[in-house]
């Protein structure tokens, strides 16, 4: 608190983009309040702030989602006022945005996606495929990307490649300013490296970038200056050279953050979950094994981290254990020593096994329902007699849980979709705690969650372990895996290729294991 806006001196005329005094409110509530922002050509500006700080609103103003006139302040591109009435207008001015959730059409080919909306046409409106393919290949080559066939449907590629295709698409539109909104949230470590290298390359070619990310080490690496906003206000802009990640966090939260991971000693007991020889076949191509003969154990009170690159089969493994894998799979499961057959999430919950899925938007929240009913969804029967809900008991339960987990919403009946990611995640987590599981699987528990909520979730995970719950945490964020886990499994190509006790374990060890050849099995 009390940080006066600090401005690094920037010569206004040299700026590609100047946003001056941008304000935007919704139904009288101010979301962005007089924010200034400047980006020079060939520069990467980091934009940091907790979820709900107003970053997305600010970028929606810039990219034309909120038309000119619906916000206060002005936007200048090369000193010329930009009056964008639509996304198309701002694209014409050279502004492209790459969203956190990728906006490609999965069934269309890479080329068709890159040229979506501005296809090269021949006489009679026919698409000129040869010309488009050639141009698409050239764009990908410029970015130094190998391994993408432009004629293939986008759905053949993972989110890492899809992100690169998005960048190619933006460049194809002659974008001079590219906004990256949480670009690495679904990328693996290697893919993130590629992405950062490409951003650095874009800078060299004079493209301006705005990099929005919760991953401050990436911001530190790629950004020249950092703007921090908090509660819709501009807190400060400083050259990265004068900052470090710790300082950025302090500016973001307005208070000194203690240790993110306040480890609590927790007793580790007997084996609670034992999965043996789990094999999952690909849904589309059953000859391909997404998970290949994986066995694992988790003990009472133990936190098992599962690390690995995206596509390593981690999510497939845990969803198979939870009975939610869409394709064919086999394997055996014992919970608390007893063999169980888990063929559906329902059976899993009954057996004392709960999972918080990776994809909060599609698999977690029930968007139109209130936060409260979202929380009680899994155990509604507890508050009912003969199928009739006792509304008062239910309300009492969700009020209590919302307070306990600090789920912030003005009313429990507020549709959950209108809450911030952190509050949504806490609600979904609560939902899966109410059945009182013996084993809890958390797949990417802090994806798209702000720093404050992250810390609360970490604290909760340690509490749960201390209460004797066996916990599996799947995460792509290495610091998270290292900060939380007692033991870490590393997966690559559907197999376990590393099993470590987390004692002085370093990120490098995990990464090395994840990149190692699949047949090599290490034990530390």
């Amino acid at each position: 608190m009390g940080t006066e806006p600090q401005h690094a001196v920037v010569d206004g005329d040299a700026c590609l983009l100047r946003m001056r005094g941008i304000s935007k409110s919704f139904a009288g509530v101010v979301a962005v309040d007089g924010v200034d922002l400047q980006v020079r050509a060939g520069e990467c500006l980091g934009l940091c702030g907790e979820n709900g700080a107003g970053k997305s609103t600010l970028m929606k103003v810039l990219s034309g989602v909120y038309p000119h006139g619906s916000y206060g302040g002005e936007i200048l591109i090369d000193g010329v006022p930009l009056h964008a009435h639509s996304v198309a207008d701002s694209e014409r001015a050279g502004i492209a945005i790459i969203h956190q959730e990728l906006m490609l059409v999965p069934e269309l080919s890479v080329t068709e996606n890159i040229f979506l909306g501005r296809e090269i046409r021949r006489f009679g409106g026919r698409m000129d495929y040869p010309a488009m393919h050639q141009r698409a290949e050239a764009l990908l080559r410029e970015l130094g990307i190998d391994g993408i066939k432009v004629g293939q449907p986008v759905l053949h590629y993972g989110s890492g490649h899809q992100q690169l295709i998005e960048i190619a698409k933006a460049l194809g539109k002659q974008a001079r300013l590219i906004i990256f909104d949480e670009p690495s949230s679904s990328l693996t470590a290697t893919e993130t490296r590629t992405l950062l290298a490409i951003v650095a390359d874009l800078k060299r070619r004079g493209v301006a970038c705005v990099y929005i990310s919760h991953k401050l080490d990436e911001v530190a690496e790629v950004c020249d200056r950092v703007t921090v906003i908090r509660d819709g206000r501009h807190i400060g802009t400083q050259p990265m050279a004068e900052l470090d990640t710790h300082r950025i966090v302090t500016m973001m939260v307005g208070r000194e953050l203690g240790q993110m991971f306040e480890r609590k000693p927790h007793a580790i007991g007997e084996v609670m979950l034992e999965a043996s020889h789990v094999t999952c076949l690909d849904v589309v191509n059953p000859r391909r094994k997404r998970v290949d003969d994986v066995s694992l154990q988790v003990r009472r009170g133990e936190i098992l981290g599962i690390a690995g690159l995206i596509g390593a089969g981690r999510t497939e493994l845990v969803s198979a254990i939870y009975g939610a894998y869409p394709g064919t799979w086999r394997g055996e499961l014992r919970i608390d020593g007893k063999p169980v057959r888990v063929r559906s999430p329902q059976a899993a919950v009954r057996a004392g096994l709960c999972m918080v899925p990776e994809d909060r938007k599609h698999h977690g929240i029930v968007p139109l329902m209130g936060v409260g009913p979202n929380i009680t969804l899994s155990v509604l029967g507890h508050y009912a007699r003969a199928g009739v809900i006792d509304g008062n008991r239910e309300a009492h339960a969700f009020h209590h849980e919302m307070r306990r987990l600090n789920v912030r919403a003005s009313s429990p009946m507020l549709p959950i979709a209108s809450l911030s990611g952190g509050n949504q995640q806490k609600a979904v987590l609560t939902r899966m705690l109410l059945p009182e599981p013996k084993v809890l699987i958390l797949d990417e528990p802090t994806r798209g969650v702000d720093v404050g909520a992250k810390q609360e979730i970490y604290r909760l995970i340690f509490d749960l372990a201390a209460r004797g719950i066996a916990i599996i945490v799947v995460s792509s964020e290495m610091p998270e895996v290292l900060g939380l886990s007692d033991r870490v499994l590393v997966m690559a190509d559907g197999r376990v290729c590393g099993d470590f006790i987390n004692d002085g374990l370093r990120q490098e060890d995990l990464l090395a294991a994840a990149l190692a050849l699949p047949h090599r099995i290490e034990n530390a």
Partner: protein
Amino acid sequence: MSSSIDTQAVGHAARFRQIFSQYKIIALLVAVALIWLYFWHATDGAFLTSRNISNLFRQMAITGMLALGMVFVIIAGEIDLSVGSLLGLLGGVAAILDISRHLPLPATIALVLLLGAAVGTLNGLWVTWLRVPSFIVGLGGMLAYRGVLLGITGGSTIAPSSDAFVVIGQGYVSPATGNVLAVLILALLVFITWRRRVARQRLELKINALWLDAAKLVAAGVVLFVFVHVLNDYGGIPVPVLLLLGLLAVFSFIASQTVFGRRIYAIGSNIEATRLSGINVDRVRLAVFVLMGVMCAFAGLVNTARLAAGAPSAGTNGELDAIAACFIGGASMRGGVGTVHGALVGVLVMASLDNGMSMIDVDAYWQMIVKGLILVLAVWADVVSSGRRR
């Protein structure tokens, strides 16, 4: 604090929408009132006689029963196109049991309801177990059930129904009984309101002002007694109308007070999240189709009783009226949204248009055009006012 801004911003919009959706039903009732006023004027008062009102509600009963089942199907994110044909088939079976087999009335009713549940189960199993989209299952059922009906009736009308049977569709509850019922219902409402106030007081939750609750009760009482009085003026409450009101109470209760009802909404809003929360979504969806089958049975029985005959063409296009009513009443194509009472007001809109336009001798083709337009306009108004895009 950190997340308060976005949350509140969206929260305001959401609250506005919440308020609107709460009062949407009032907007709809105002629309009904306008329609009635217009027809009252156009028919020199004939539209608002107790005889016509009684007719109107009776006409509404059959589509109303279909709409009650359909609104759950739609909230669950599915659709069922087979209900018109199924209504015809079950009505035909009822006629055969009653007329050709001379079964006693309770046996006929029980058998037809069971058959309805069985066919509903069949539809539901195709959707849940065999994973055929409900649109296709309904389309197939629409053809097949009509075919079965033509087969078992040999394409000819089966008449006349027994006197006992006809009462279901044409009978009236005696005015005295109607009055007693009205008093009982009002007493029940007072009791529920009082109990809620006590419970909320105990839990220190917000309580409505006493005058507000009292005003609501008085309003409910006035509506109730005017309704009963008007119908008593013309022989009493028609049996099918009473049946519909009873079913309305049951369905409203299911939707708002039961675990099953909550799960229907959850499934329609996000079926994957619901499944991953450990809920057997297929069982809920199956149950929704079974209920739909049972409602087809009720509608079929009433329809056959009303005509005193089982006709091979009975219920044709019934599914379209029911579906249209649900959407007019605020249900969403995408599932997760809709109310039972909204669907019934939707039926009231459609029935009023049918009845009124027939009275002022509007050509049948114009009636179809107007109903089509009203459906699209109603959903458009809903889209615009709720701020939903696309």
